[in-house]
Symmetry: C2
Subunit: 111 residues, 2 copies
DNA sequence: TCCATATTTCCAATAATATGGAAATGAACG
DNA sequence: CGTTCATTTCCATATTATTGGAAATATGGA
């Protein structure tokens, strides 16, 4: 991964609304969510939401898919994995690894 | 983790020089690196480097430690883990997890 | 105490980003 | 082919970040 790509992706995430959008989409998995649903969930003006979606899409962090009259956006897990990998690259100077394993979806625990 | 914290940390990383500094420190492990060494490695003016180090430190991504006449900065792996975890939180809508396991320090392979 | 070296602060010019209302565009379906 | 609903573009304004030279500060050692 190019450093400039990572900078663009981090900049895309470094904004309250865009971070919320991205996290929401990560939680939705591959299915993603229609723009209108995102607007509902986060309460953003049309123009503002569209601007932020475009920024995230241009950075490669989310992808658009037409679905009937709707456009579904979903997180690009490939891009996300590449970015997380880039941050962790060659870490820890040979010491035991200090970066936690992927925290998502552990085998379910009952509360 | 608060969303505002994550935004600040992502903004801190969303800059070419700061990203380079952070990745360099991640690679150095807990030992870290003196400011002068970072300057050597990245070729930054004193004022510029100091500004970026302060930004990263304020965001909580790196920590300073006095070592003789030098100040060593090191990556905060706790902060890094919290940030990566925040991005991945509740991911994937119950589908099989799409986020790659931590890529660092796999059991060594000989080339 | 005083020196030498390491690091930070001060400064002000330049450049980039976030915002939402209203209008325009796009897509599907009868 | 026109209607309807979903989404994007246009616009102007206000806020915020980045830069390096020079001077100031901090530290340890003699």
């Amino acid at each position: 991964m190019e450093s400039i790509t990572a900078v663009n992706q981090l900049a895309a995430l470094a904004q309250e609304h865009r971070l919320a959008i991205f996290r929401l989409l990560v939680q939705q998995g591959q299915e993603g969510l229609a723009v209108g649903r995102i607007a509902e969930a986060l309460g953003l003006a049309n123009a503002t939401l569209s601007f932020h979606l475009k920024t995230l899409a241009t950075a490669g962090l989310i992808e658009a898919r037409q679905d009937g009259r709707f456009i579904h956006y979903s997180a690009s897990f490939d891009a996300m994995n590449a970015l997380l990998g880039f941050l962790s690259e060659n870490c820890c100077a040979g010491e035991p690894c200090l970066i936690a394993p992927a925290p998502c979806c552990p085998p379910e625990k009952k509360p």
